[in-house]
């Protein structure tokens, strides 16, 4: 038997980044209070139910200092992931003009965020402002669940079903952590699984695209 180990590499891989935003984390209590105030004031919502409030996507146009700082940090954070998965030079990166839309979501216990993806968008970033304690009975409580994006492999056996990351088929779950932002391609369908804890989950989502010099065909959002 040939003892030479095989060369195994992931192909068709999907980038998923986790970016700590420590400068923003310090302002999480202020952000939380701002968002609560907007909800209490009855600000219009894109999606609202007793268990989930999603603000309009003009959050990053708000004048409050913590929001402005958050917006800049989130876009910079997405750019660090872009840089990590490309071979851009510094000059090339600087030549790209980011466009971003952001909103906040407050998910109450027993609530979730239905699955979605974002057309005309390259990257999605989800920053956690506040998170409930993990549930002792439901390990997927409140996780960001990114749906399997490959064509569903309909044949499975004991070996294909047990592969480890990054080869494992199926959804991927990430538990939001205050002060951290998940970054992934915006074409991926994702959801926030129902929360089985007593506290709400507060998130800020940004959708970002980078316009290259002279690039055409990118319609307005």
């Amino acid at each position: 038997m040939n003892a030479t180990p095989p060369i195994v590499v992931p192909i068709l891989a999907t980038p998923f980044g986790v970016v700590p935003l420590p400068d923003v984390e310090a302002h999480n209590p202020a952000l939380n209070e701002l968002f609560s105030a907007r909800m209490r004031a009855g600000a219009s919502a894109v999606q609202s139910s007793p268990l989930c409030y999603r603000s309009p996507d003009d959050l990053f146009e708000r004048p409050e200092q913590p929001v402005a700082q958050l917006a800049a940090a989130m876009v910079r954070g997405v750019a660090t992931v872009v840089r990590a998965v490309n071979d851009f030079s510094e000059d090339q990166l600087r030549s790209l003009r980011p466009e971003a839309r952001g909103w906040f979501t407050v998910v109450q216990p027993d609530g979730g965020v239905p699955a979605a993806n974002y057309p005309l968008t390259a990257w999605c970033g989800i920053y956690c402002v506040a998170a409930p304690e993990p549930s002792s009975t439901r390990h997927d409580s409140g996780v960001l669940r990114i749906y399997e994006s490959h064509f569903g492999p309909m044949f499975a056996d004991a070996t294909t079903a047990a592969m480890r990351l990054p080869f494992r088929p199926g959804h991927y779950g990430w538990r939001p952590v205050p002060g951290q932002m998940a970054v992934f391609p915006a074409s991926l369908t994702h959801e926030i699984a129902p929360i089985r804890s007593r506290e709400p989950l507060v998130l800020v989502t940004v959708r970002v695209r980078f316009i290259g010099p002279g690039q055409q065909g990118v319609a307005r959002w």
């Binding site: 439901r138 997927d140 569903g152 309909m154 074409s187 319609a219």
Partner: protein, 217 residues
Amino acid sequence: MVSPVLNVNPLFAVPFGEARLAACDQLNQELEALFLQRENAEHRNPTPSHIPQAETFESRFNLFHWPEACVQELRRFMLDAVARMVIETTTLKAEDLGRLKFHNHTWFHVSRYAGSFIAHNHPMASWSAVYCVRAGESVAEHPDSGVLRFLDTRQGANAFTDPAILPLKRPYAVRPLDIRLAAGQLVLFPSYVFHEVAPFYGRDTRITVATNCWFAP
């Protein structure tokens, strides 16, 4: 503007079947009583493939082996519909199908407040079907409460949109399909289609029976 003759047909279509069991009230009442009676550890699926949750009970996959008359009546209705679906959508004739061995895994779900089921499909099966025993309460403030949602198989197709493709109509529209099941309703689809149950916010119960089928020479 010229008006060329144009033939437009759906490509890569997904067959989706629907049937109704007539006069099903009595049957559904018997099924509901039986399922609630057996909503216990003995009948719970011991090897769930997805995250178990207190709000949704999943039975073992041997439901159609139960001898009770109500179960056997439902078995005939569901499996006959699956066979009809195969005949309608394939080149097989009834006699061809009759020569195949027809396998199924069948179970029931009882969902209560905030119960849901993660998006999934069913490897190693060809056809799936869901029958509604009890739809559960509709909740005005949660319009998608308990809907059976089918995810579009054309992943990524909506990543670029413009005003000329965004308003695509069925069957061309690229978006999920939500079905609010009614008691007695059966839906049938290929097992490769991802589907999920949105959180159910009724104060009563939502009860369904699901089957995965496969055939062998």
